[in-house]
């Protein structure tokens, strides 16, 4: 019982820190609440979808921005829009924030800014991925120990 309690406290602390540091926002909490007996892996599922999506989009954008001349800003913009939508769906606040900046650069057709933003997005994305994976691991541990995942306010 102690182990479970400990893990649960750890889980709560960790997710609180994620919220505090702005990696995640309220939307993620909503997602957690949507998870129930009928769809036990809902959050993980959505997250993995998000990761796949992100990687694809980041690669797309990277490829588009590699060209020295004639960058297809429209295509980049579309990708950024997608990314923004996805990140807002999952509640990845920091990724979403970067995306907003990214789009303004795209509209301005500023390649330098775009590249900088792409780097930022990649960074934020990998950070988030790590953090979330840690979080999911914690969840699994709690479940394995027989506890229930506490709800974070």
């Amino acid at each position: 019982m102690d182990v479970v309690n400990q893990l649960q406290r750890q889980f709560i602390d960790y997710s609180a820190s994620l919220h505090r540091e702005g990696f995640l926002d309220d939307q993620f909490t909503q997602l957690q609440k949507l998870q129930d007996d009928n769809s036990p892996d809902f959050v993980v599922e959505v997250a993995s979808l998000f990761f796949e999506d992100c990687e694809k989009l980041i690669n797309n954008m990277a490829r588009a921005l590699e060209q020295q001349q004639g960058v297809d800003f429209k295509q980049v913009d579309a990708s950024v829009h997608q990314l923004k939508g996805s990140s807002s769906s999952i509640g990845a606040m920091r990724v979403k924030d970067v995306c907003i900046a990214f789009r303004s650069f795209c509209e301005a057709q500023n390649r330098e800014g775009c590249l900088r933003c792409l780097q930022q997005v990649t960074h934020e994305y990998s950070l988030l991925k790590n953090k979330l994976q840690t979080l999911f691991r914690l969840q699994q541990q709690i479940l394995a120990a027989g506890g229930s995942i506490p709800v974070v306010e």
Binding site: Q27, T29, Q30, L31, K33, L34, D36, D37, N38, S39, F42, E45, V46, L49, F50, E52, D53, A78, H81, Q82, K84, G85, S86, S88, S89, I90, G91, V151
Partner: protein
């Protein structure tokens, strides 16, 4: 509508015709078919009776006559016999005299008798011979001895003519005679021809002989002369005729006055006035000689009796003929009897005739009344149909009006008015629906459908509907006294299956009616709905202990703290009281592990027993027997005080009976009423349950297995709905706005559950507390509050179109949480394929920005398609003008852009709303 009315009229006339045919067939009795013959029949009857009476009269008369004849014959015979006797007595006396003469005149010598002695003796012995006017003795004198004889007596023999006799062989002069006839002394008896014959006959036979009747010399009466022979010597024992003739010494004769004899005789007998007696000498049968009586006397010749008379003379024949003096009198008794009989027959005939006429009249009246009845019924049906049709015609536009009433932006005052109008309109529609139901039931067109549904959620819904009303009422009636308001509770036995097959709408209507009535008439106390199985094999009264069950072991808490149920008010039917309720729960606990024969139960239907108990004003005893009559309320003041039309209960009764059950009630005025009804439902088999599960309003099962503590001062209110521990939910029976504010301030914001506890309310509240499904929606379809959303989305198919997989997944998850069946598509094109008509989606959420075809582009063709289809349909049907087109899938745009332009663009493309996606 005109067409409809015509049709109904046609139908009705057919019904009338059918009835008429039936009526004539039934009324075609023997009497009816022969009614024209009735007067002839009565005439015939009278005639027949007349004949019968005559016949009877005749028969009686004949009997009378026979009797008369018998009387006559017996009288006649009697007279004849007596006459004969008297006559023979006289003959015997003459015989005795003859012997006397023989003895003293011939056997004595000298003779002891002379004329003097004879005269004296006969005179003195005359009393013995009253009928004989006189006797005389004539001696036989042969011609040779005539002179000696004449000398001896001193006189000559004379003939009857008193002349000296001529010469003859033999003489028979009278020598002795009674003084009365002394004039015949010395007369020769043989001088008369007839006398001579008599004398010859007498001496030959030795017996008395008679002459034919003649008028006697003295009295002029008819008489006969009796002649007896006197023999000289004693005769041998069997003398021959010659011996007799030789031995003859003389003849004793006497004149018998027959007329006096018969007169005397008749005078001695009774009834001589009634009959006429004639005596005849019929020796010569062709010419009877009258001996007595008048030949031409009047008398009844119809009845005549002849009696033979034997006066001892074998050569003479006599007879007596008797007849009645008067004709047979008319038999008054017979006549009276017959007359009475005839009168009685006439009366009987008259009575029968009257009865038949009456029957005919009654039958005519009956037929007429039947016809009138049929017409009245037809009129009633027509009225009902008219009412139904008109109600239907009113309902359709009314629905349209109500739907449109609050559709636009209104100022607060306008909205207030419009809301009032809507409430009124809804009340009106409810009334109209009742009328339509009534009409349908009367027309027999109400058909029950069979769909699976959840009984508990029905009760939950209905109670939520009325909890508001009863709460308001409680507040209005007595704001100051906390306990003076009805509390609502429902109790469903665990044995009642969760899903049943039946008519959801009608069942709900029944419950609504009964609970509605209870709420309407109850101002304090409680309204308690109890649902349990009634086993069909046992009478209802017995089954309550067996079947009224509560939900098993998790009710232990409830039982342990059981106290007086609810409000402490007495209920009309003590069966439902809390004590028995608790007893049942305990009882159920004890035998909880009893095996249940599920195989048997699954295959057949079962009877559900529902009772609604209230502590209201009750129903007055006088009107209890017409509670289920349409338009009948307890009294006219009821409708003034409580409103309503009074057809609710009659509809309820019809519905219950349609559902194969029956309804009854127990009510005590000022104490309360308990309405109980049974319905038959089929058990829901699994296959159909699974098929239809998605379209059913049901309570989420997500709370199964969670534990909860229900804190309430009064047990019995909770039905085992459970809450997560860390959340504190305030349960309030009745809460004012001030209290609500206070509670919110204390941290119970949005977590107040109003009682009565309802499952869906609990769910909604829990969802709110747990923060599930928070969504912000823009547009008209937006509704705040999860329970509404729950009801709105549950079981509905919703299409989500988004190219962003993560977003799509999240959105789908959120919608699924509310029970929606979600389909996902990744592009506008794929969505378009799914939205081809006819489509079954309740709504479509569509992302605006998508590759290939965006939301706007996808919406356009859908709308085109729909309007085309609607045009085709509306061409044929004008009735639905109140509604918008039949086909219209609400399409909601999803976008992260909250710029108004996008929203407007969406509306231009005839999207229905806009959701701000995160």
């Amino acid at each position: 509508m005109g067409l409809k009315l015509q049709q109904s009229h046609h139908h009705q006339s057919v019904a009338v015709k059918g009835n008429e045919q039936m009526g004539t067939k039934r009324g075609y009795t023997f009497i009816q078919s022969n009614r024209d013959w009735l007067p002839k029949l009565i005439l015939l009857w009278v005639m027949v009776m007349g004949f019968i009476s005559t016949w009877i009269y005749k028969k009686m008369d004949a009997d009378n006559n026979v009797r008369r004849e018998e009387v006559l014959s017996s009288m006649c015979d009697q007279r004849a016999r007596m006459l004969q006797d008297q006559f023979s007595v006289s003959v015997n006396h003459v015989h005795a005299l003859a012997l006397l003469v023989a003895t003293f005149h011939y056997y004595k010598n000298p003779s002891a008798i002379d004329q003097e002695t004879f005269a004296e003796y006969t005179a003195r012995a005359a009393f013995e011979r009253p009928l004989l006017s006189g006797v005389a003795y004539a001696e036989t004198v042969v011609h040779s001895g005539r002179e000696k004889f004449e000398k001896q007596h001193g006189w000559t023999i004379k003939t009857m003519q008193r002349e000296p006799s001529r010469l003859r062989d033999e003489y028979a002069p009278v020598i002795f005679s009674q003084e009365t006839i002394s004039y015949i002394e010395s007369l020769d008896m043989m001088s008369g021809e007839e006398d001579r014959e008599n004398i010859v006959r007498a001496r030959a036979t030795g017996k008395a002989v008679l002459t034919s009747p003649f008028r006697l010399l003295g009295s002029h009466h008819l008489g006969v002369v009796l002649t007896f022979p006197v023999y000289k010597s004693k005769l041998p024992p069997k003398p021959t005729m010659e011996e007799r003739i030789v031995a003859t010494a003389g003849y004793l004769g006497g004149a018998i006055d027959v007329e006096s004899l018969v007169e005397n005789l008749l005078g001695q007998l009774a009834g001589n006035q009634a009959i006429l007696v004639n005596v005849y000498d019929i020796t010569n049968s062709s010419d009877p000689l009258v001996m007595y009586g008048h030949q031409n006397q009047d008398g009844d010749w119809a009845v005549v009796h002849e009696s033979k008379l034997d006066f001892g003379d074998p050569f003479r024949k006599h007879q007596m003929i008797c007849r009645y003096h008067q004709k047979a009198p008319t038999s008054w008794t017979a006549l009276t009897n017959v007359f009475l009989f005839f009168v009685i027959c006439l009366l009987v005939g008259y009575i029968l005739y009257g009865a038949v006429i009456h029957i005919v009249k009654v039958e005519d009246d009956f037929r007429e009344m039947q016809e009138l009845k049929v017409r009245a019924e037809a009129a009633d049906v027509a009225k009902s149909q008219f009412l139904g049709t008109v109600s239907h015609e009113i309902r359709t536009p009314m629905n349209g009006m109500l739907a449109l009433l609050l559709d636009t932006d209104l100022s607060s005052t306008q909205r207030g008015y419009a809301q009032t109008a809507q409430v009124c309109g809804k009340a009106l529609i409810t009334l109209i629906n009742e009328v339509i139901d009534r009409a349908k039931i009367e027309a027999g067109k109400l058909e029950l459908e069979t769909v699976p549904f959840n009984i508990r959620s029905i009760f939950d819904n209905v109670l939520s509907l009325f909890s508001e009303k009863s709460r308001n009422k409680g507040v209005e009636v007595s704001r100051d006294k906390t306990n003076r308001k009805p509390s609502l509770a429902v109790f469903v036995s665990d044995k009642v299956p969760e899903m049943v097959m039946g008519d959801l709408g009608r069942f709900r209507q029944i419950i609504t009616n009964l609970v509605g009535n209870s709420v309407k008439f109850t101002e304090r106390g409680h309204i308690f709905v109890k649902v349990h199985l009634a086993e069909s094999t046992q009478p209802v009264a017995d089954t309550k202990v067996e079947t009224c069950l509560n939900g098993g072991s998790d009710e232990g808490l409830l039982i342990s703290s059981a106290c007086q149920f609810k409000t402490g008010y007495e209920a009309a039917d003590e069966r439902n009281s809390w004590d028995s309720f608790r007893h049942l729960v305990v009882d159920e606990e004890l035998r909880y592990d009893a095996p249940i024969n599920t195989i048997d139960e699954a295959s057949r239907g079962f009877t559900l027993m529902v009772s609604v108990e209230d502590t209201g004003i009750g129903i007055p005893l006088i009107v209890q027997d017409r509670v289920f009559t349409p338009f009948m309320q307890a009294d006219s003041s009821t409708s003034r005080n409580y409103g309503g039309t009074g057809i609710g209960l009659s509809i309820t009764k019809c519905l219950v009976e349609l559902m194969g059950g029956h309804i009854s009630f127990i009510s005590r005025p000022q104490v309360g009423s308990t309405f109980s009804f049974t319905t038959v439902f089929k058990r829901c088999n699994k296959a159909s349950y699974n098929d239809t599960k998605k379209s059913i309003v049901e309570l989420p099962s997500g709370f199964k297995g969670l534990k909860a503590i229900v804190v309430d001062g009064k047990p019995g209110k909770q039905n085992g709905h459970l809450f997560k521990l860390p959340k504190v939910i305030l349960l309030a029976k009745n809460i004012t706005n001030v209290e609500l504010e206070k509670a919110k301030a204390a941290g119970f914001a949005d977590t107040v559950i109003m009682k009565p506890m309802r499952a869906s309310m609990a769910v909604a509240c829990l969802q709110q507390v747990l923060g599930i499904g928070k969504k912000r929606q823009a547009g008209k379809d937006m509704l705040n509050g999860s329970p509404v959303l729950q009801g709105l989305l549950c079981g509905k198919k919703i299409l989500v179109v988004d190219d962003n997989m993560a977003h799509q997944r999240v959105f789908a998850g959120a919608l699924k949480k509310f029970g929606a069946a979600v389909e996902c598509r990744e592009s506008g094109k794929a969505a378009l394929k799914l939205l081809q008509l006819p489509c079954c989606f309740y709504a479509c959420f569509m992302d605006i920005q998508m590759p290939e075809m965006d939301g706007f582009e996808a919406t356009h063709p859908i709308r085109m398609m729909e309007s085309k289809a609607n045009e085709q349909m509306n061409g044929g049907m004008d009735e639905d003008s109140g509604r918008k087109g039949e086909w219209h899938v609400p399409i909601l745009a999803m976008t992260a852009d909250v710029i108004h332009a996008t929203y407007d663009a969406g509306l231009k493309c005839r999207m229905d709303g806009c959701v701000e996606a995160l």
